[in-house]
């Protein structure tokens, strides 16, 4: 059995957390200033999205090759759901140019963090 570098997943998770936090802060600034979607927010969303997609690939590859006893279906479900979040809330914020929609974007950063925590929990619990 080849030795897959499982550390990649934890580094990636840290990176996702950092960018998600940045995304949340940028959105929060918009909420406070009552401004609408700008390039900075969109670029942060794109960066977050790319990291989340990378996490799906790494997560599935490691999940298929690990000897860990983890709740695979739930793990993959969370993993696959995460990349849906930034496009969805960005779409909402583009369609509805109010503080409320921007608040949803800021809130989504928290949801992503919670999902990441659950993912990490599932991955490490029986490892």
């Amino acid at each position: 059995m080849p030795n897959y570098p499982e550390g990649v997943l934890s580094w990636l998770t840290v990176a996702v957390l950092v960018v998600a936090a940045l995304y949340g802060v940028v959105a929060l600034v918009h909420v406070v200033r009552d401004t609408i979607v700008d390039d900075r927010l969109l670029l942060t969303a794109v960066a977050l999205e790319l990291l989340l997609l990378a996490q799906v690939v790494v997560g599935v590859v490691l999940g298929l090759h690990t000897t860990r006893d983890f709740e695979a279906p739930v793990f993959y479900a969370y993993l696959g759901t995460l990349p849906l979040v930034p496009p969805f809330v960005t779409f909402l914020a583009l369609k509805d140019k109010t503080r409320w929609a921007m608040g949803v974007v800021a809130g989504s950063a928290v949801v992503i963090a919670v999902f990441l925590a659950r993912l990490t929990q599932m991955w490490t619990l029986n490892g």
Binding site: F88, K97, T98, W100, A101, V104
Partner: protein, 145 residues
């Protein structure tokens, strides 16, 4: 004969809320989408992998998922019919969370595993209990003349 005279521009159309957007309604849509996702995920997992363990609870999970999905789409569409559908779905949701919440305390043997609604949604920070109340209040407020 069809009357082909163009209609005069209606001074009061577009009806509804100011162009600023739909305010809190967008938060509701997002929250309902989140719960539709959570409930669908949980229900499909439960039904596929461990149906026999607690059929009643798991079928209720599936029902909850369907109701959240319907409410999400109806709230997002935001036209007259959709809002009526949303009101019906959210009313069922409120009854569901109250009944299942109560039953999960009174008949815990039927609910060995959690559903979104058991214990009034305590596993989800009681959001499932608050959400239908907010939804109905919102629909009431945004009712059009």
């Amino acid at each position: 004969m069809a009357d082909l005279t163009p209609l005069p521009p209606d001074p009061v159309a577009p009806q509804g809320r100011p162009p600023g957007g739909r305010g809190f309604g967008i938060v509701l849509v997002a929250l309902y989408a989140l719960f539709a996702l959570a409930a669908t995920g949980r229900a499909s997992y439960q039904l596929i992998s461990e149906y026999s363990k607690a059929p009643v609870a798991y079928l209720l999970s599936a029902l909850a998922a369907v109701i959240y999905l319907v409410a999400t789409v109806a709230l997002a569409r935001d036209d007259r019919t959709s809002l009526r559908v949303a009101r019906a779905a959210i009313t069922v949701e409120l009854v569901g969370v109250l009944v299942v919440g109560l039953l999960s305390y009174l008949a815990p043997s039927q609910f060995p595993d959690k559903t979104v609604w058991s214990h009034f949604g305590s596993g989800y920070g009681y959001v499932p209990l608050v959400l239908p109340v907010l939804g109905l209040l919102w629909l009431r407020r945004s009712r059009r003349p």
